[in-house]
Symmetry: C2
Subunit: 274 residues, 2 copies
Amino acid sequence: MIGLDKLSLNQVTVGNLTAAEAITLCAQHEISAIGLWRDRVAADGLAATAKAARSAGVHVSSLCRGGFFTHADPAAREAALDDNRAAIAEAAELEADALVLVCGGLVPGSRDLALARRMITDAISELVPCAQRAGVRLGIEPLHPMFCADRCVISSLGEAIDLALQFPADAVGIVVDTYHVWWDARLAAEIARAHGRIVSYQLCDWVLPLPEDVLLGRGHLGDGCIDFRLITDLVLATGYDGYAEVEILNRTVWDAAADVTALTVKSRFAGLLG
Amino acid sequence: MIGLDKLSLNQVTVGNLTAAEAITLCAQHEISAIGLWRDRVAADGLAATAKAARSAGVHVSSLCRGGFFTHADPAAREAALDDNRAAIAEAAELEADALVLVCGGLVPGSRDLALARRMITDAISELVPCAQRAGVRLGIEPLHPMFCADRCVISSLGEAIDLALQFPADAVGIVVDTYHVWWDARLAAEIARAHGRIVSYQLCDWVLPLPEDVLLGRGHLGDGCIDFRLITDLVLATGYDGYAEVEILNRTVWDAAADVTALTVKSRFAGLLG
């Protein structure tokens, strides 16, 4: 069980709103935290967004996203590191609990998973001192294996934890997103092993059939087949006391009025997890 | 490296052909084995298909499929067992190397993965004596996690091996299908652990973007991002000396002339694995 005071709304769930509008929506609906996306923060301005969140009393539970480290060209890898350093600075100014890393798929033109994974390890090594200086925790997010080729070769929670454990806990943790990891027979054991390393907990449901763009096949809690109470209890049992962030990428949800979405998010969360 | 003498063509790759036509195609193209599907075998008649394969000198490397064990209604579970016993008898008459099991998704109306997995274990327990009497090996096929909810809750090779190891090796093994397992960071270790348990090895490529029906997103070897030589070497290193079966579900491949498909399958196989 987790209370509504721990609910965070990821802004992509109300994808038509600006960052400022999403922050206002959270304040109006007494949702005490928000997950922000960099492009929307940039559109409103970093300083203005940070100020808006503080003024509204809305905490930033995560900033999405850094990562995409896997490039054949060394200059492109260096550019990715620079972009991630900028993301770390943004996360610091927003006082975000974590900077979410979507680490990148196969290196273009390559079928070598191990190469891509080494590049990711190397990149995170490079970023750790920057993250520590800024007081920002990087969250390695394992993505569902259907995104392995093009978005993230870190495809299971166990692999993300193995990677995170190579680095200091104040700098690197993992993100548990129910959508990406619910299927894993090792889930309970891996979450237990993530003790002290969970920097973000995200929730949305797995809804069938998958849409043509599989990025957008996510649903409100309860509309699909994920056992949220089970996974949430496992996460809480590690001592995690951060926010539970509802992050839904779905055209139908985007087309709904933001107030309706906020009410649905709250009622589903309370009903399934309260 | 694996020779063309170990190539098998799964009949679904030439999905417009009858079983008899697919057997003839294999013989004409000097492909020495075929993977058959039960519905097509039934359409031609079991005895006629078995005879056709023997006459043509084409070995049956697999029969697809048994499984779908996960039902809320006990009568439906019993009916599934009966159907699987029939499938075992068919595999025996065809002298197939393995009966492929697609074990089933979540129990309808349930979000309980553990329940579905227990039902699968129970069902295989029931089938083992029947398989042993018939001299048929059951092959537990882990399916890609994107099929976990609706087709198979066994989503990783490790889980399939853990399950198979509960039963005698002459009755239960696992199927390695590149499409379903290529993304797994534990792949090398798990394949090594499958020593003596691999009863079928299937190949097709992971091609992006995924089509609207994600069942059909598979491609000819070389058209996607899977490193077939790496995985094949791992499989062979376990002592596996069975066939390597090319199984492609893809509308464009189905629309091609069967002779062209057979030639493409052979040339890609030889080029990538020879």
